[in-house]
């Protein structure tokens, strides 16, 4: 009987080890994927993402959340999971994304659902880019991200769960590629109902 109990305890401790190990790994990867090494307001990025210099946590985060991203000489990806005040982005809220054109060959802002895929909507509108954004008279832009129809540049959010925004800079200027932290990125003002 004591032998059986001993075996049961050992098995339980092995299971506990594995659960602790996998749970802490999942948590670490999530933290790395969201925080990024460089933060500009609500946006986060990394100098090593997609490159051979990436560490093991960054590789794992890329594999889950941003598979096959290009290195920063080709493309820079800034991701936002929170608004300007640090609140988690939520599809039930309305967001105003305001900014100025970015210094790269081509740039876009895309909304993603919690599964990291495009959000279904009747308009088939998933992103705005430098070519299809209606601009303000001073050249700046203003995107309204919301699950409810909005005037102007409306980016539909779907209506439920966590969402995120990804700002892509394809072939960024040499200045930004060398100093990712110096980019002037859009603000994200949130209003929740």
């Amino acid at each position: 009987m004591p032998r059986a109990r001993n075996l049961l305890t050992s098995t339980g401790l092995v299971v506990l080890s594995v659960v602790l190990g996998l749970g802490s790994a999942a948590l670490s990867i999530r933290i790395v994927s969201r925080r990024g090494a460089i933060r500009i307001g609500p946006w986060a990025t990394s100098t090593t993402v997609g490159s051979r210099e990436a560490g093991m946590y960054e590789r794992a985060a890329v594999a889950i959340h941003a598979l096959f991203v290009l290195n920063r000489a080709e493309t820079i990806y800034y991701r936002a999971h929170v608004d300007d005040s640090g609140r988690e982005l939520d599809a039930r809220c309305d967001y105003q994304i305001r900014g100025r054109p970015l210094d790269s060959r081509w740039w876009s802002i895309t909304a993603y659902g919690s599964d990291e895929f495009l959000i279904a909507n009747a308009q088939d509108r998933y992103s705005f880019n430098m070519a299809n954004l209606a601009r303000e008279p001073d050249g700046s832009f203003f995107i309204r991200a919301s699950s409810r129809p909005q005037p102007g540049n409306w980016l539909p959010l779907g209506g439920k769960g966590h969402v995120s925004f990804t700002l892509r800079l394809y072939v960024p200027s040499a200045e930004i590629a060398a100093h990712l932290e110096r980019a002037t990125l859009p603000s994200i003002a949130g209003e929740c109902r």
């Binding site: 190990g21 990867i29 997609g50 598979l67 096959f68």
Partner: protein, 171 residues
């Protein structure tokens, strides 16, 4: 052994599981993608995708402005030849090792003469008889991804014609 004496072993086991999971995850996920592609079109064959929308679940975080073509490569036996016509707007071909590292990228501006010819090989010093760019791969298996920007939906048919001209096949 008392429970207190087992705690260090539990923590050591947890650390081992933690590191193993983090280290293995990228290769596992790339393996799953490769496996799906192999089932769809085979290894060293190209798959051309339509513009991503909300039903597109091939690879996470797709850009809805890009046409993607993808090829699961395996150069264990023979080098792989990739060719493509280069359009006017943004276009790139990139290669990823089985641990997700982006080890090669060429775009429409770095490509010469409007056409790309790249040979991926695992053999050091391999020379392409037709003088294409030769890339020595860090892993014998991985993924090659083409991206083509489509800003005007009226140009989609033309863009897809160019997309369909890209090839990925053993040399």
């Amino acid at each position: 052994m008392t429970l207190a004496r087992r705690i260090p072993w539990v923590l050591a086991g947890a650390a081992l599981a933690h590191v193993a999971a983090v280290q293995m995850l990228p290769r596992f996920i790339v393996y799953v993608v490769r496996h799906r592609l192999e089932r769809a079109v085979g290894v060293n064959h190209i798959l051309h995708s339509p513009l991503p929308d909300s039903t597109w679940h091939t690879i996470v975080m797709p850009s809805p402005d890009l046409l993607y073509s993808v090829c699961a490569y395996n150069v264990s036996d023979r080098p792989l030849l990739v060719t493509a016509d280069v359009p006017q707007g943004y276009w790139s071909v990139s290669a990823f090792a089985d641990n997700t590292d982006n080890f090669f990228v060429q775009n429409d501006r770095t490509a010469s003469h409007g056409r790309v010819r790249v040979v991926f090989s695992s053999q050091p010093g391999f020379k392409d008889p037709d003088r294409g760019v030769v890339v020595q791969v860090p892993s014998s298996t991985g993924i090659i991804l083409f991206r083509q920007l489509v800003l005007d939906r009226n140009e989609l048919a033309r863009a897809q014609q160019i997309q369909n001209g890209a090839t990925c096949a053993p040399l």
